[in-house]
Subunit: 392 residues, 2 copies
């Protein structure tokens, strides 16, 4: 017997739900063949070139771009929400001791506790206004948790957030202890806006699946953060960097890359489930890296060009191009961030997208509860004869 015989012939989806549309959405879209993606209809790369984090955040959370006045009010409100609630700051040193600096596992534990501290309950038991405010508060706290955990885990005193600083300035300040220069802010701000949302990627889908059970925003955020920590999703930018280190020189790019590909290893920073052309995020990050005269950009360019050529030669038909993670590390380094913080920084922007998706999910919810096709031993199998019925 199989589920297929019992139910009315379920649709058998491809592995990983590739090519399956699981919902309707007004949050964002990725047109993989056109190399274009948008937030609520606005070209995300344009927003990243011309906007500020709070603009994109307001657009995602509230559905519309802010007017100049709304922008100022939203920036002030979200800056005030940076303050960690009582009981969370005290937990951070003990959490930070459990994992190395920049650990997404520490951040997951901390954000889970922070959600408890601000009183997140199942959204079914809350008003929409409560849930929306918690979504903004968790998004505002994420950079603070990430920065303080980093400093604690590296043996430094945590730096308290400053509500008078903009989003990116405050983040870099909390990590380095110094107000950043314009270049650093410029680099970080582009990266953050580019990575806020991107369709039903693995962590966003996770957020929606958990939200659909009626769970609280802490459950949703911890789960999505967990998904983001996986090397096949958000856990790769630092690995791209490690690759650039390992290659070392321009001359070494071709033989090193050829050896990796021929050995069957996956090149970090190349290929994407949806993009079958150049990833527009990678394009802008590349531009930013050049504008900032990053030391590493020249090596990265050689590696990118060589890898794309080699992949076309050795893996024909796979359409493998540099993805967002390829130049992300180069830009984040130019912003003054240590590489241990690359994935945590990604979490700070992507939580904004998670929350927008969650608010949409709960507005018209049906629990995600798919089927699977059982193909194990035929049921029912006989239990061993020595097993006796239990009695009270």
């Amino acid at each position: 017997m199989t589920a297929a015989e019992d139910a009315s012939a379920p649709y058998e989806a491809p592995a990983g739900l590739a090519g399956v549309s699981v919902a309707r959405t007004k949050v964002s879209d990725v047109l993989g063949r056109k190399g274009f993606y948008h937030y609520r209809g606005y070209n995300a790369v344009d927003i990243a070139r011309r906007g500020r984090v709070e603009d994109a955040w307001h657009l995602l959370l509230h559905g519309e771009l802010p007017t100049p006045r709304q922008r100022a009010e939203f920036a002030a409100a979200t800056a005030a929400w940076r303050a960690l609630p009582a009981g969370v700051g005290d937990l951070l040193p003990a959490i930070a001791r459990l994992s190395p600096p920049g650990s997404l596992a520490s951040l997951r534990t901390a954000v889970s506790a922070a959600a408890q501290a601000i009183g997140c309950r199942p959204w079914t038991d809350q008003t929409d206004a409560e849930t929306t405010e918690q979504a903004a508060r968790l998004s505002a706290m994420m950079p603070v948790l990430a920065a303080q955990l980093f400093r604690l885990a590296s043996g430094q005193e945590p730096v308290q957030p400053r509500p008078d600083l903009g989003y990116s300035d405050n983040y870099l300040y909390m990590i380095t202890g110094r107000i950043p220069d314009d270049r650093a802010r410029y680099a970080l701000e582009r990266y953050l806006m580019l990575t806020i949302d991107h369709g039903f990627n693995n962590s966003t889908f996770t957020a929606r699946v958990i939200a659909s059970s009626g769970a609280d925003l802490g459950a949703i955020t911890a789960g999505a953060l967990g998904a983001l920590s996986g090397p096949f999703h958000g856990g790769a930018p630092a690995r791209v960097f490690d690759m650039l280190d390992a290659i070392g020189t321009r001359e070494n790019a071709e033989p090193w890359l050829r050896h990796e590909i021929e050995s069957g290893r996956v090149l970090m920073g190349f290929g994407h489930r949806i993009y079958k052309t150049i990833d527009p995020r990678s394009q802008l990050l590349h531009e930013v890296a050049r504008e900032l005269h990053s030391e590493r950009v020249e090596l990265a360019e050689v590696v990118e060009k060589t890898a794309v050529e080699l992949l076309a030669e050795l893996k024909p038909g796979r359409d493998l191009y540099a993805n967002v993670e390829f130049y992300a590390g180069v830009v984040l380094e130019a912003a003054g961030l240590p590489r241990e913080m690359f994935t945590s920084t990604f979490a700070c922007s992507r939580i904004i997208g998670w929350m927008a998706n969650v608010l949409e999910q709960i507005a018209d919810n049906r629990i995600y509860r798919p089927l699977a096709h059982y193909d194990g031993p035929e049921a029912p199998r006989e239990l061993p004869g020595f097993w006796q019925p239990a009695t009270p």
Copy 2:
């Protein structure tokens, strides 16, 4: 433009992936029309009648039922893994202060920290043996975390686990501080074995989605636990109990239930995505409740019978029957558990199913990355004219 125009006509799945088979599995199956489910081919209700938790756990984790010798070895190994690692026990009091007794949010934060403490890393960076051992350790620690958090949050001293006690005895001992009687163990053991796994339910699917990104077992467990905490999934047994309290007497059942259904409210403990007949779990739990002469069983029976009749009358064609949660609370109360601990107890059994599913997922992995159908404002929309390009 929509994703549909860009990609090659994706399959548009029903909301919640209802009726969509997302994977092949050898772990378990639910035949919803037959009212039958199994673990790796063995009738799960038979296992629950005749086995012990360690039998089902070994079957799920290692793929086969244990021989008597394997059962003893596995019981000893998993009992030893109950000990909390350094750094976690110290965190529990502070976590317990953040939420009320029995909170799944506290348990989520605690298991996230516990996974850090035992060194869970992305499974992509571990051997299969390491990942399997961590899966067993997290499953063994879950009841300890749940029990200690409960006692701390209720102002009691935590009780350390005893490796010389069986799974269920130890759990009840850690919560109540007393070795339970045979009836209590009998009741709890039936419940636990019945609820270990159940196809691609919401939390199990969450576990697989997160696992598919390459994330560590802590990320996976925290996410799945978050999903379980939702009222549409595992967060309902206590609510069924609240309903029985609200009804109070047999005479009040009909008018109370009719009023609820006619007011458009969802009755907790009835209906299931997959079962369109009597839930076999509910059936055995009902039997167990009767065997134990639970005080509450008579009221529950009247409520069940009345609700099923009223649902058939007022919601014809929906096939709404009592689900696993309906008699779960009655049985768990007979086991001596406070109602705040019902969902945490569910988590203790279900983690065994999550881990089996995760080990299967990572053995043949493809990242879950579905599509969505964008139906918001047409892209690209014009950005406001006052937005100027940023410069470094």
